[in-house]
């Protein structure tokens, strides 16, 4: 049961094959077993069991709230949850218990979902590995998969298994690990430059970043307000669409949500035919740093569309190469501003120093933030200084406009969706990952994802195949603004074609044999 998709388990709940409480308990027990993954910062066991009980009553009375009723979900620890500690994996917010729910959290609860806990991340979502939070790094469940281990046995150079675990990617690595290890059926991430899509790609999941303005940010502790969107991590595209259906829509508490009526719910038709589709391949995304495996899968995917009758076009997004620098300036500037509120007065950490206000601020912030956060605050403030504002911030805003226009031009040329890699390569071992600093890593890892955030477009990472090492590789589809449904429909068709294998974690879950019930084999393998 645990290995099933949200849609499948929802059907099982409706048919009474399993009760919400049983399901909740199975997930809780798996959360305990997989504690070493460090996916969760807080496990809200009591809350989840109580919600399960209520859900069970509803099912008994035939008053189910819908597809999400009784479904265990997890939420990244940068969404405010009423009465549940929300830390952003930072000393600054350790012990902070928000008095309100983020709109997306509230919507999940209103639909009957069970909140299993708050998931780990990079401090304030600043990172691409889920390695830089105060609660330690998240381990990628694929490190312990049969697929990966078997490949490693064949490799005589492989080192000690225990120290050679892989990162999840990030910053929503906890959410990705939680879904990937079957401890819940869907999780909320946040996506500012790729933080949902990147770990989805590394953990073999669907990672969806909705259009900016489609889903409320109220209660999401901001990284970059103008780019943040709540992201959705699931095991398949239909599941993402179900969750999106629950979350999307205008929120009076978020003035940047759009009021135009949107087709709801996001039911995805099964495309029988892609011959009317035009897929764009941005040539600028073919860069030397791209691993040959990813490049090859990317081109096979394009071939697949072409062979099924779709039009596949090479398109140009000419300002792509400026994107990451531009992102850096805008991101750090907003970070500098957003982090100003953490002064130790109203909430969160406060130092013991009370010589003066300024000394108290300085010590509080020094103790509360890690080097990454402090570094971004420093550079952001530099860019916002009166003497630098025109040369950095304003210029970056202009470049941002050019980048957004690149996408508009591509779509205006007749392209329906763009197909790109999500990441340069598959997940790397932690020890490998930390050889470079956070800034370098973020610049590398966000390379294919952050431009989408600057343009506000919807994008989804779809797991495609396993690499030679037995690790997942994802590809990204980018859609027109507010054409999220169309984007997911194409992604669903593609998902069906590639039949990505389910992670095999039997050793992890020896007494949860149910996972094997649902094992799928690759019918159309894109693997080399």
């Amino acid at each position: 049961m645990l290995g099933r998709t949200l849609q499948e388990v929802s059907a099982a709940l409706k048919q009474g094959q399993i009760t919400p409480t049983e399901l909740c308990q199975k997930c809780l027990s798996l959360i305990k077993k997989t504690k070493f993954l460090n996916a969760y910062i807080t496990v809200s066991e009591e809350v989840a069991l109580k919600q399960a009980e209520e859900s069970e009553k509803r099912y008994k009375n035939g008053q189910s709230l819908g597809d999400l009723d009784g479904i265990p979900v997890a939420v990244k620890d940068n969404f405010s949850t009423s009465g549940i500690e929300t830390t952003c994996a930072s000393n600054m917010l350790k012990g902070y218990i928000p008095p309100y729910n983020a709109t997306v959290v509230q919507k999940l609860l209103d639909q009957g979902a069970l909140l299993m806990g708050k998931t780990n991340l990079d401090e304030f979502a600043m990172g691409s590995g889920s390695t830089d939070g105060i609660f330690g790094p998240v381990k990628n469940p694929w490190s312990y998969s049969k697929q990966y281990r078997e490949k490693r046995k064949q490799n005589p150079h492989s080192k000690n298994e225990d120290s050679d675990w892989l990162i999840t990617g990030g910053s929503s690595g906890g959410s990705a690990a939680a879904v990937s290890a079957f401890t819940c059926y869907a999780a909320l991430g946040s996506d500012t430059g790729g933080s949902t899509r990147n770990p989805a790609a590394h953990c073999g999941l669907v990672g969806f970043k909705p259009s900016y303005g489609l889903v409320s940010r109220h209660g999401l502790i901001p990284l970059v307000n103008s780019m943040d969107v709540p992201g959705i991590l699931t095991r398949c595209v239909d599941d993402a669409a179900i969750v999106l259906g629950a979350l999307a829509g205008p929120d009076p508490k978020d003035s940047t949500t759009v009021h135009d009526p949107i087709n709801k719910p996001f039911m995805l038709p099964s495309l029988a035919d892609v011959s009317k589709l035009c897929i764009g391949i941005p040539k600028e995304y073919l860069i030397p740093e791209l691993s040959s495996e990813v490049r090859s899968l990317w081109s096979k995917a394009a071939d697949l569309f072409e062979s099924e009758g779709a039009k596949v076009l090479e398109v140009s997004l000419p300002h792509t190469s400026y994107s990451i620098v531009c992102y850096h300036v805008l991101c750090t500037s907003e970070v500098a501003s957003n982090m100003a509120r953490f002064d130790g007065l109203q909430y969160g950490h406060r130092c013991d120093i009370n010589v003066s206000t300024e000394a108290m601020y300085a010590a509080t912030r020094r103790e509360g933030f890690n080097d990454v956060v402090r570094g971004r605050i420093l550079s952001g403030n530099f860019f916002l200084l009166k003497e630098n504002y025109e040369n950095y911030f304003v210029k970056a805003q202009k470049v941002r406009r050019l980048i957004a226009n690149d996408f508009v031009n591509a779509f205006n040329s007749g392209v329906d969706v763009l197909l790109t890699p999500t990441t340069l390569s598959e997940a790397v071992p932690y020890l490998e990952f930390i050889k470079e600093d956070n800034r370098t890593r973020s610049a590398q890892d966000d390379i294919f994802t952050q431009a989408v955030n600057m343009a506000g477009l919807p994008a989804v990472s779809i797991p495609v195949a396993l690499s030679n090492q037995g690790l997942p590789i994802g590809l990204q589809f980018i859609g027109r603004a507010f054409c999220d449904q169309q984007l997911l429909t194409v992604a669903k068709w593609f998902e069906k074609q590639v039949q990505f294998p389910v992670i095999q974690l039997q050793e992890l879950m020896d007494d949860c044999s149910a996972v094997l019930e649902n094992e799928k084999s690759a019918s159309v393998s894109l693997k080399q």
């Binding site: 405010s80 970059v224 500098a336 501003s337 953490f342 109203q346």
Partner: protein
């Protein structure tokens, strides 16, 4: 209350004046020698600095104002918290006001309408698109670490404010003056810091944090304290007429900062200082005049003016350097990403089928503008034939115009009579006892009845004054009751009066002699004696007529 302890605090406490000086804030003629205006040429500064001594240049002062008016609204600019003065500390604080992470601003429609209304009343161009920015600085009562304001593209620009400055020998001539308005911007108010020096702690009250403010920036077209005070008073009246701000300075709903410099006319402007902490119109005038004089003295003694922030010390009557900022602050302005551009419409740009709840129509607001003070004054002059300066007085005293109009409504007396009684007698009593119109013991109806008695010649003016004095004692009697109790009716019995005149003439032969010798003024003495004998109940004109008749016979 949120509190934290800190010993060496470096902030100064912006005092909130609990006193009642706001009532007495009509500009008073300054006593300093340079402030009196000699020129009445419209665009020339009324107050040309000091009288130049021989061989010396004249100094001219340049004054610009930044005025913060708290918007009168039920809820705050970006949150649903209530706005109320003197509520228990931190009782009106939403999650957004406390800047809890993840909260977002939601613009209050009422505040936008108030800004548009104010902009229109001040002849501004209303920007159909305006933007919000973040202004960053660390301060304990600014929980987010930034204030949301409109730095780049404010909601209204390029307006003007016309006000009248009193001049002439008795300050009875009103000279119209105009100050240009650079812009009006919407922004958030901060919370309040209360410093407890004894315990070395600071208490933070966030009730005010996030209340909507209109920042009105005046161009430096003013040249002295009196001009500034009069301009601010006019703005205050306009805001109150519009209802966009209660503009009560004592409650901090209207706060003024003044930028002041002096120079020799024709030469570049001097270095300016900013004077803060001006919490009444009287102090505003005083502070500006003090600062101008200080700068002149400084420069004449070979000193230099520092570009600094100064605070007005109302007890000492002087400005003092605040020294609160070490070096210049860089506010690191940035667009507010959580608020889309504020778009306003007019009749021509309004999209068809737009939801009226979601759009603001400038033309519609223009139609609802109430009568502005300048129009009210003109109407008073036209309608009641009063002098312009009387209309100024009527508007300047809170509630006086309404009182006046209520009296007018209920009395048959001539408007001129009413004006005179309200402005001289009534206002005189109020001022003497330092009372507001609302605290007056005499109601408009009572005064109206009194004026009717006077008008119908039931009582004499002198008796009327007596009745008024009785009314002021608040004994609950009507003017009619007082008149009959005190027997103040005019003596109607001509025979009796003739008798009285006759006996008075007989009792004072010397005066009669004087008169007959050709001293016509001696008759006044007789009139006075007769009036006294009637307890002022007789009409002096009638007494005079009788006396003259008897003398000539």
């Amino acid at each position: 209350m949120l509190r934290w302890v800190g010993r060496g605090r470096l902030w100064t406490f912006a005092r909130v004046d609990g006193g009642s000086c706001h009532r007495r804030e009509a500009p008073t003629g300054s006593t300093s020698n340079w402030i009196r205006g000699q020129s009445s040429v419209a665009q020339q500064p009324l107050c040309m600095t000091q009288k130049p001594r021989k061989g010396e240049h004249k100094w001219a002062a340049v004054v610009g104002l930044e005025i913060h008016a708290q918007i009168s609204s039920n809820s705050k600019l970006f949150s649903g918290s209530q706005v109320r003065f003197s509520a228990p500390p931190n009782s009106l604080v939403s999650f957004f006001d406390a800047s809890l992470p993840g909260t977002l601003p939601v613009l209050n429609r009422r505040c936008v309408e108030a800004a548009v209304m104010t902009g229109l009343a001040l002849n501004c161009h209303i920007n159909k698109k305006s933007l919000f920015d973040r202004k960053h600085y660390f301060y304990a009562d600014l929980p987010a670490g930034y204030q949301i304001t409109q730095q780049r593209l404010p909601i209204a620009v390029n307006g003007s404010l016309t006000y009248g400055v009193c001049a002439g020998k008795k300050q009875s001539q009103v000279i119209p003056k105009t100050v240009r308005i650079k812009q009006i911007q919407l922004e958030q108010d901060s919370g309040k810091s209360l410093h407890d020096d004894l315990r070395s702690q600071t208490l933070i009250d966030l009730n005010r944090a996030g209340v909507g403010l209109l920042e009105v920036v005046l161009e430096p077209d003013l040249s002295c304290g009196e001009e500034a005070a009069t301009a601010v008073r006019e703005l205050q009246l306009i805001l109150q007429a519009l209802g966009t701000s209660q503009a009560n300075m004592a409650e901090g709903q209207l706060r003024v900062d003044a930028n002041i410099s002096v120079h020799h006319p024709g030469e570049p402007l001097g270095v300016r200082t900013e004077v803060k902490n001006l919490n009444s119109i009287r102090f505003l005038a005083k502070a500006i005049d003090y600062e101008i004089q200080r700068q002149i003295n400084e420069l004449e003694n070979g000193g230099e003016i520092l570009n600094e922030t100064r605070s007005f010390h109302y007890q000492l009557g002087c400005t003092m350097s605040m020294r609160d900022k070490e070096g210049k602050q860089d506010y690191r302005f940035m667009p507010e990403p959580n608020l889309p551009p504020l778009v306003l419409y007019d009749a021509t740009s309004l999209p068809a089928g737009a939801d009226p709840q979601q759009v603001i129509n400038i033309d519609q607001i223009r139609e609802t503008l109430p009568e502005l003070p300048s129009v009210t004054r003109e109407r008073l002059v036209q309608q009641y034939g009063m002098l312009l300066e009387h209309s100024f007085t009527l508007l300047n005293e809170v509630g006086l115009l309404e009182f006046f109009q209520n009296v007018i409504k209920e009395t048959r007396a001539e408007p001129k009579k009413v004006t005179s009684w309200v402005l001289n007698t009534f206002l005189g009593y109020l001022k003497q006892q330092n009372l507001a119109v609302s605290e007056s013991p005499v109601t408009p109806s009572a005064l109206a009845e009194l004026l009717d008695l006077l008008d119908s010649r039931t009582i004499s003016s002198a008796a009327a004054k007596q009745v008024f004095e009785e009314l002021w004692k608040r004994e609950g009697k009507t003017p009619g009751q007082i008149v009959s109790e005190k027997q103040l009716e005019l003596m109607e019995d001509r025979g009796a009066l003739e008798q009285l005149c006759h006996s008075m003439m007989e009792a004072h032969p010397q005066v009669v002699m004087d008169l007959k010798k050709g001293n016509p003024r001696a008759i006044n003495k007789l009139i006075g004696l007769v009036r006294k004998a009637t307890q002022s109940r007789a009409d002096p004109a009638m007494i005079k007529e009788i006396l003259e008749k008897k003398l000539s016979s």
